[in-house]
Amino acid sequence: MTLTDKSPDQKPATDVAGPAHPLGVLWRAVTTIWSVPKARIGVVMLGVFVLGALFAPLIAPYSPTNNDFGRSEDMTAAHLLGTTAAGQDVLSQVIYGARVSVFVGFIAGLFSTIIAVLIGLSWGYLRNKTADVINFIVNLFLVIPALPLMIVIAAYLQNGGIGMIILVVVITGWAWGARVLRSQTQSLRSRDFVTAAIFSGESSGRIVFREILPNMTSLIVGSFFGAATAAILAEAGLSFLGLGDSTTISWGTMLFWAQNSNALLTGQWILLFAPGLCISLLATSLSLINFGVDGLSNPRLREGAKR
């Protein structure tokens, strides 16, 4: 089918029915998430952690690396959560630890999502042998247990720090999102608006990224939060095993030092409790926001909807 009779300045008809202004879409997404009570709690919790991470130098009473204090002190007015075995203030470390988790979660989540979008959408749109090969690779990455793979790679790239952790998390974390986005792409590609776009002579790249992509905003946001949660938990796990840079102040390394300095035997439960609770709360906040995101794509999951 050719469209040679069309004048070059004429816009394709599909643009008329295209999405609203990007900011409008964003605003609508935010209000939809905010309208779900669970997601609202998640947004508030996440906000607290992000602000804590950004303003850590202002909030924290001491420098997290200052080790001039008494060793393994209990909770006092000067040290609300006590001090570590190396004589650092635990509260300051907890506040500064938010930086690593929020940073790793955001960056690794972002990169995983970008890869998931690129692979998931083109894989869902293609219908040839390439799709079979991608299918096999994605399934392979899905079934290979992620944490052992991360541990092995991290062991080879010794003490690589946060950059290394982000790299291994992204390598192992993109496949899930790619699969979810692919199945949605497959169901969207047979819809009328895509057929119309094909007949109006749009290129495949434009159809995938300008016509199909905007319809999957909620799924993409959802897979971002999922990937970020996984990244935060993975960073904590790897740091806990001592595979990251153990001089970085993060919740995972705090737990690593807590176990290695026998905080269990000395009875300093707060040293174990505080960092782990923060990891859980941060991960929970992202999962809670995802309840609101689910509602965007599946009205049946919206709160208060009748069965």
Binding site: K38, L140, P148, A236, R300, R307
Partner: protein, 326 residues
Amino acid sequence: MRFVLTKIGLLLLTLWAAVTLNFLLPRLMPGSPADAALAKLAQNGPVSPATKAAIEAQLGVPTGSMFDQYLQYLGNVATFDFGVSYTFFPQPVAGLVAAALPWTLVLVGLVTIIAFIFGTLLGVLAAWKRGTWLDTLPTVGGTFASAFPYFWTALLLLFFLGYVAGWFPTSGAYGRGTTPEFSAAFLLDAIYHAILPATTILITSLGGWILGMRSTMINTLGDDYVTFAEANGLKPRTVAIRYAARNAILPNLTSFGLALGGVVGGSLLVERVFAYPGVGYLLYTAVTNQDFPLMQALFLIITISVLLANFIVDILYGILDPRTRR
């Protein structure tokens, strides 16, 4: 039968890919892990040429073409020849792995099945009683608990129930001074030692099953045949269990295999906390000592176990749902 054969073919292809990935990993890394391994091994005394060859084949010291190395590696894997560990010198890696594997298989296997059953039941209940406390409590609790890092749950249980209350042993899989044997006393001792690690995995993995089942069950409840069953005046309980839940379980079963990878990963951290002598603790020991031969073999065996579990679930799924057999 054709369905089973296709699945077996796919399994073999995936196994081959996993083995090949294991071959490529050390070769893609900067530096030479094999040189590090040989240097470390040499500290324990002279290295026999056979040991040297096995380590080189596994970790990739460039002798011969890449293809020759690959063939030799495949031969070693096929004969379970993974070289010699230098953390536990001079024990062969294969023996160490074989001793650790049963502990993890039993622990993770049993707990996963228990978690699947309980989680599915709670998910059915949550979807059926949507909006009530029976829904809110398991969903919110499950979301929160599945955000717990495995090792944190483990540390807390270890601290409060192990050290403070003193109800459970704090490390190992059986009491000091006892040797593994098939007797009632030893079995009870092993179960006693497994309670804390098992509870940890259960708490952290249960939420996923609840949420997954709830979501598929809600979708199933919207189907026409459920409305039809309700219109026929069947008892709500019959509609929920015999009609909706029965069909909602199937999609949830496919995520079983995928979730297993996560549970296995989590159990590695749990084993480290409790010094439980399974593959996770062995992997931790291997990694901290840069025992690359042991590490590679463990990664391979963990991956193969998960692949096999997935294969079994796939076959089961085919038996339960005739539509997938086509």
